[in-house]
Symmetry: C2
Subunit: 141 residues, 2 copies
């Protein structure tokens, strides 16, 4: 009995995250961004000039993934890279004006999708949902 609930939760979670990813992807393409790049930029909006290592920790992904993302974002003119002056191994990532200007439109896309996702779910339920998700998060780490 219980396991059926679990199973549906797994399936629902799978479907939801795939669907969300697709929808975000579609919207972000209008800004010439690929899904995932928004999160990298988000980190830079609050702490410009961090290293790729720090990005990889924040994004919870492997260093080669950051190398690729950063390369793509640089080619599209959203960021630029500068070797650290004190540690020649490290690369520091900075936003260009083009990258800085994406903050508002990206936040607006996030808001739009959040509203769609949480439509007809009350504030109390949202708080409960958040609590359960935080519980699941701590279960995973």
């Amino acid at each position: 009995m219980e396991s059926m609930v679990d199973c549906e939760i797994r399936e629902l979670f799978d479907k939801l995250s795939a669907r969300m990813r697709r929808e975000y992807s579609e919207s972000l393409r209008e800004l010439n961004l690929y899904v995932g790049q928004d999160n990298l930029l988000y980190r830079l909006w609050s702490s410009d000039g961090i290293t790729q290592m720090q990005l990889s920790e924040y994004l919870n992904c492997e260093p080669p993934t950051v190398t690729n993302m950063v390369k793509s974002l640089e080619q599209n003119g959203f960021i630029y890279r500068k070797r650290d002056e004190k540690d020649a191994r490290a690369m520091r990532i900075f936003l260009t004006d083009k990258g800085k200007n994406l903050e508002e439109p990206v936040r607006s896309i996030w808001k739009k999708h959040q509203e769609k996702l949480l439509k007809s779910i009350s504030t109390d339920e949202r708080l409960l949902l958040r609590r359960l998700m935080k519980q699941m998060e701590s279960n995973l780490f």
Copy 2:
């Protein structure tokens, strides 16, 4: 106020799905499977011999994605493809014995991760969580 909750839910959702995907990926590698292939096989376990089109609808992904997944699964000997006799455009996908034998180990991996994810969440809370996720699902489609 409310938007802060929404925002955290977006972030939590993002983190959770990325983390889940990584963990599933790791476990599935032990079966020589890549993440996502388990869902394709799952569909075949209950309906062997369907077309790629049907798979793409079930998996909620684009046809070229199915082409790639199917190619990889075929090369690894989990499935085989056969052209439909009545419609020469369509490919029908069948499980090999090797593919059929994966059902139990894959279900066991799913169960393991579900238990980890939902640890310390009561049955009532799980039911509520499922209801909220179903609500979100219907909001997206």
